[in-house]
Amino acid sequence: MAYDVQTAVFEGPFDLLLHLILREQVELYDVSLTAIVDAYLGEVERMEGVDLEVATEFVLIAATLVELKSRRLLPGDEGVDLDDELALWEERDMLLARLLEAKTFSDAARALAALADDAGRSYPRVAGLEERFAALAPDLLEGVTPADLRAALARATTPRPVPRVDVEHLAPIRASVTDAVAELVDELPRVGRIGFRSLTAALVERLEVVVRFLAILELAKQGVVDLEQADTFGDIEVIWRGEGAAHDRPLLVDLTASVDVYDG
């Protein structure tokens, strides 16, 4: 696996995926997804602090890739739900469209940079009015109240909230792994709280583990389970919240909203 991603700084999953596909000419299906995940995690580590949005977005895309890949590995067509198949195509097209869009804007940004560089060679005249005209100028503080001033100070001094990694909410991801979801919905209410490792200990095939993982992410998104992970690469705790839970709390507008894009 010879990707060298140490040279460039990637601005997120699309950037990295485009790099892997276009610049490295990597045939994604002929290589291990772990390698891509590793490459990505390497990038994330080099960033100053991990951004939850970045991490989530990548997991989301990785999940789609896993599903695409797993579908290709399944023998024949038997048992494949037509709806699932269509959903998968949709997800693939969505991913393609987003990658194309990302590339379009990254190229547009380069053109804007060239414009800015040209414009940056000239400096505007900003000296303004000479003193003799200053008395004529209208009072700029007309209508400004002391309260306006205080509000302006508050605006100016409000610190930008620092994005915090909150693994508890990791994973609003949907995958069409209906069977696994059904099993989990049957199983989880009985145990209440269980580690992901225990939950998958009985499974033999890696693929099954992956599918279970996707199913759990789906449940997390629907709000019927909570996920907790104490430390990086630590075991993920799955906590059953109940099917009614999702409706008991107000919905918050998701920052990226991109999650919804993948809804079948």
Binding site: Y29, D30, L52, F105, A116, A119, R125, A127, G128, F133
Partner: protein
């Protein structure tokens, strides 16, 4: 050195004098409409006069230029004199924009009005910090509220953005169509995302999906 133009400025003396004086004290590009009002001529006449003035300065090899930017006219230093001006303007006023800032700015520029969430969705990363920086630097600003349920704040580019890029209006942005990736890119992407299931067990394309490298 011969003078390139015997009479470099065919603009009427009074109008030229008024234009030059007003533009000299202006802190921002001045709308031709306002200039026309001051000179008591039509804005279209202002455009003519300014074009002639600008051509005159260029022909005379002046160190300044009269340009149309962000919807108005302003004086600025001539690009050829950049080395001198840069030495003079000690703090690089126009600090270079990061790649993230440029990409975010491009998305806002072409898709405005647009919400932060929509920008984030296109970039695939959290853009709160970048958007706030761009807003602080005055290149983008809140322009509206989404009428939909969330009432999300919608952003657009500002006059300072146009000035930073040396554009007169948004119409002068290069067409986005120029940047849509060509067929070879599409092909490469599609190739990577083939979905056909392996019909038989023959010629399996890969090992287990998650094998170690």
């Amino acid at each position: 050195m011969p003078d390139p133009m015997a009479d470099p400025v065919p603009v009427p003396r009074e109008a030229r004098r008024a234009l030059e004086a007003v533009l000299m004290v202006a802190e921002e590009p001045v709308d031709p409409q306002l200039l026309g009002q001051l000179l008591e001529v039509a804005p279209s006449r202002v455009e003519e006069l300014c074009a002639e003035l600008a051509a005159g300065y260029e022909a005379e090899g002046r160190g300044f230029a009269l340009v149309r930017v962000a919807g108005g006219y302003r004086y600025q230093s001539h690009p050829d004199a950049a080395p001198y001006v840069e030495r003079f303007v000690l703090e690089g006023q126009s600090a270079r924009l990061s790649g993230a800032a440029l990409e975010t700015m491009a998305i806002v520029a072409y898709k405005q009005p647009i919400s932060r969430a929509q920008v984030a969705s296109i970039r695939g990363v959290n853009v709160d910090g970048v958007m706030r920086t761009l807003q602080q630097r005055g290149y983008i600003d809140e322009v509206a509220r989404d009428p939909g349920p969330g009432q999300a704040v919608l952003f657009g580019t500002t006059r300072a953005f146009l000035e930073r890029l040396g554009l007169d209006s948004l119409d002068d942005l290069p067409s986005l169509a120029e940047f849509v990736p060509g067929p070879e890119v599409l092909e490469a992407l599609e190739h990577s995302f083939r979905v056909e299931p392996a019909a038989t067990n023959g010629a399996a394309p890969a090992g287990p999906p998650d094998d170690q490298p």
